[in-house]
Symmetry: C2
Subunit: 144 residues, 2 copies
DNA sequence: GTAAGTAGTGCGATTTAATATCATGTTTGG
DNA sequence: CCAAACATGATATTAAATCGCACTACTTAC
């Protein structure tokens, strides 16, 4: 099995490392996030944190995203979800189209493939995105 | 080289095949599209067609997308672009992060890889998305 | 400890992309 | 030519995200 459940990255540490202050709102966001390994939308997050302004939630998620501890996923319908993710290793995600559950996976073959393609197209690959949309078969939408 | 420039798909034919009427606004959209193999936003398209209502442009692009002759690409920044694309064969895209030029490519290895991954993760893969963000090295932004 | 400076916050307005509403216009089959 | 079905367009609306700005709260210097 390629999937793996990540050790929770330390969001507070990520902020400190980036030279950002660790404030009460940021703590609140971080601790809520740590209960939400699955995909979440910033909007929903904000709704669960009425004590924190929306803009601050967006700003903080952007910081965490820049710090690499939160990933931004493109859903099929064009909306986005975010997900906590392990630092330090590149990975991709599966998203259940029924229940929205997000899982990370890493397959070295993906990286090899990208490298191989990069030799065959003109220009230099600066980034890539690979997302798998699945039906996880274990979600409420499947009759549990 | 994996890339290929597609024969222009016949957008009008695609509409007819889908059982939709071929109307004046749709003709206008189709003929503008056929000059725009590169990525484009619906917004920009609409601006170039003042005689056609915004809603109609969106509706028509959605039809063409459903018909498979137009692809919707997710940009790194979260916005979208559309691109004419060949019918009948699955492919992926490179997008130049500087100039926005879109190219199609197809590598069978991608499909093999997806199939291989599908055997190793729980759940069933219903769809996937692979986009390569490149610096095409031949665009105005690179000093031409 | 206080003043000054910097970083962070929150409200509300704004932007942008896209969709919904719905009265009106167009096409097509007969 | 008529009626039904389909398509259109102006406008309102929604949703996600960002911006502007006054205010607050740390941090540092003195």
């Amino acid at each position: 099995m390629f999937g793996f459940s990540d050790p929770r990255p330390d969001l507070i540490a990520a902020l400190e490392k980036g030279g950002y202050r660790v404030t009460t709102p940021r703590r609140a966001i971080a601790s809520l996030l740590e209960q939400k390994h699955e995909g979440f939308s910033v909007e929903a997050l904000s709704d669960e944190l009425p004590s924190v302004g929306r803009a601050t939630v967006y700003r903080t998620i952007k910081l965490l995203h820049a710090a690499g501890v939160v990933c931004k996923l493109a859903m099929l319908n064009g909306s986005h979800k975010y997900s906590l993710c392990g630092v330090g290793h590149h990975h991709h995600h599966t998203v259940c189209v029924e229940c929205g559950a997000v899982e990370e996976f890493r397959v070295d073959a993906v990286e090899r493939l990208i490298r191989q393609i990069s030799e065959d197209i003109s220009g230099e690959i600066v980034s890539h995105r690979l997302e798998l949309y699945v039906n996880c078969g274990a979600c409420p939408a499947n009759g549990d």
